[in-house]
């Protein structure tokens, strides 16, 4: 029991260390706030404009037929917000490791007694928290204007769903981290993953417009399931407990993705130590 307590306390200290470091860094480089606040609106506006350019006056009518709602902007806003958080989580661990490599701090972090999965993974907490808060701040006014009051229970469940949905992404993030440690070039892979996820997760259009075989691929993505659940709750006022099957599926995806990712990470971390890649940048 004492061992478990000490293990938990030690890992909490590591999380606290990373949290404080990141917050201090973000405060000392403050302009990223602007990006986070404005991006969901910019992306939504972009897609909205493209749709209008393609279909003119009938754009909303067609959109309603395919997506089940005429509220294009809110539909896009929800999708874009989830897209931004998803990308942040996928890239975050890898980018953080890359930054440590450039600074020359990776080896010193590695030399400590901290559990490396907790150490590298902890960056997602401050980044996720700040991003969520900023995004909430940016989309809440829109939500107030556009949707009916949400049941507090559903709100709690919504956050929980988002959290469960982020776990598989966290897994993908660790694969990117492993790539970073071994090959130093996460950009090529993350860009492909980003493009794939943004095209097939239904962030900005319903996946039903895709060919059937692509819809199967799309449904295997955790981001599709999360977007679907959150949109159902916020846009179509569906109660979250009625979607328990989808939530369970999401949790299962999280476990599978995460287990695979940790295995890949450990394997490549060892390879990096064998090849002397930890100190290279």
């Amino acid at each position: 029991m004492r061992r478990i307590k000490s293990l938990v306390l030690n890992n909490l200290l590591v999380i606290k260390a990373v949290f404080m470091r990141e917050i201090l860094y973000w405060v000392r480089y403050p302009l990223w706030f602007l990006t986070l606040i404005s991006f969901p609106y910019l992306i939504s506006g972009l897609f909205y404009s493209i749709g209008y350019a393609l279909s003119g006056e009938n754009a909303i009518k067609y959109f309603n037929q395919r997506a089940g709602t005429p509220n294009v902007f809110l539909y896009q806003l929800i999708g874009s917000a989830i897209f931004m958080i998803s990308i942040l989580i996928i890239e975050d661990v890898g980018q953080s490791i890359r930054a440590e490599q450039f600074r020359g701090t990776l080896e010193y972090n590695y030399l400590t007694a901290a559990n490396k999965i907790v150490l590298w993974g902890s960056v997602v907490i401050p980044h996720g928290l700040i991003s969520l808060t900023t995004l909430a701040g940016s989309i809440i006014p829109m939500l107030f204007m556009e949707i009916k009051p949400v049941d507090p229970l559903d709100l709690v469940l919504g956050v929980l769903v988002l959290f469960i949905g982020l776990m598989p992404l966290f897994g993908i993030g660790f694969v990117v981290a492993a790539l970073t440690m071994r090959f130093k070039e996460p950009w090529a892979v993350t860009n492909i993953i980003k493009a794939f996820i943004s095209a097939f997760s239904g962030f900005n259009y319903p996946i039903t417009i895709l060919p059937l075989w692509l819809q199967y691929v799309s449904n295997a993505l955790p981001t599709t399931v999360v977007t679907d659940i959150i949109r159902e709750a916020l846009l179509f006022n569906k109660r979250l407990y009625t979607m328990s099957y989808q939530i369970e599926l999401l949790a299962l995806m999280g476990l599978v993705y995460f287990a695979v990712a940790i295995t890949v990470y450990k394997r490549w971390e060892e390879e990096a130590r064998r090849r002397g890649e930890l100190s290279k940048y």
Binding site: L9, A17, R103, G104, Y108, R273, G276, L278
Partner: protein
Amino acid sequence: MRSYAIETKDLTKIFVTKERKGIFKRGTKKRIVAVDHVNFKVCSGEIFGLLGPNGAGKTTTIKLLATLLIPDDGEAWVNGYHIVQEADKVRESIGVSLYSDRGLYWKLTGRENLRYFAYLYHLPPKVAEKRIEELLEIVDLKGDADKLVEEYSTGMKAKLNLARALLNDAPILMLDEPTLGLDPHSARKVRELIMKLRGEGKTILLTTHNMEEADHLCDRIAIINKGKIVALGTPEELKRMVKRQDIVVIEAINIDKALIEVLKGEDYVSYVSENIKDPLSMSGTLRIGLNENSREALPNLLALMTKHKVKVQHIKVTGPSLEDVFITLTKRGFYEEDQESRAK
């Protein structure tokens, strides 16, 4: 349980590098044996030095022992723990300083850097704060603790690096070139601190390519060249390995290669080692091992210098040092690697 603080058995590390030849030509792969079947044992409480020129394999040895690298052959134990099978235990037993001025968070203050690493070493907040205060005092950084590291001088960063290595109060310290790039005053302070730590019972493994530093600090030294240990012993034991002879050390400007070749051909010269510090003015140091009494050789040496228009600034006759041990054992100058890479 092993009785040595550090023990290596045929420790070997091979790197594969690829030579680059332009954009389209495929480079050839090259195997570099960075550490070649290295064996040594470090007793608890001693300062053990790895002395060798750049590229000799000192840092790779430290990185292997610190678990940053996995050996290709051989084994090693630190504080009784196997460096591969018990890597976590090894990390808990060591404090490491790898680069004197890198590896710090520049947008954090000195204190924030130490606090961050203290938490990663699982020091509870109250214990961490107390330890940080102690260390800032020890390394003389208390007055600058709340400045961002980006405002620190190289010497201050080196001190902070050392303080970080001491955070977890580990029994074994591994210091890679702890005084590299420091001004004489800061370097002396760091050396004093290392001696103090030895007095507190810490085992210290340090690498250096500073002969005087190794001689002054280390209880025992392993001289390492091209990944192999060529000699191991106390500084006195090592110096006894060289025939008693006079060494002439000449600091000069306009040292030319022709002069060195001529010197090597003289009967009274056993070896010449040059350390060119400024390739533009060709200024640096010539270290000339003599076969006979220096008094008889000195007039000839000075005549040669004058003939080759070498401007002598300082000359002294001394006994063998660790540099002469290195030259005698390896048949090459200690700074040869540096000059070659500079020439390339």
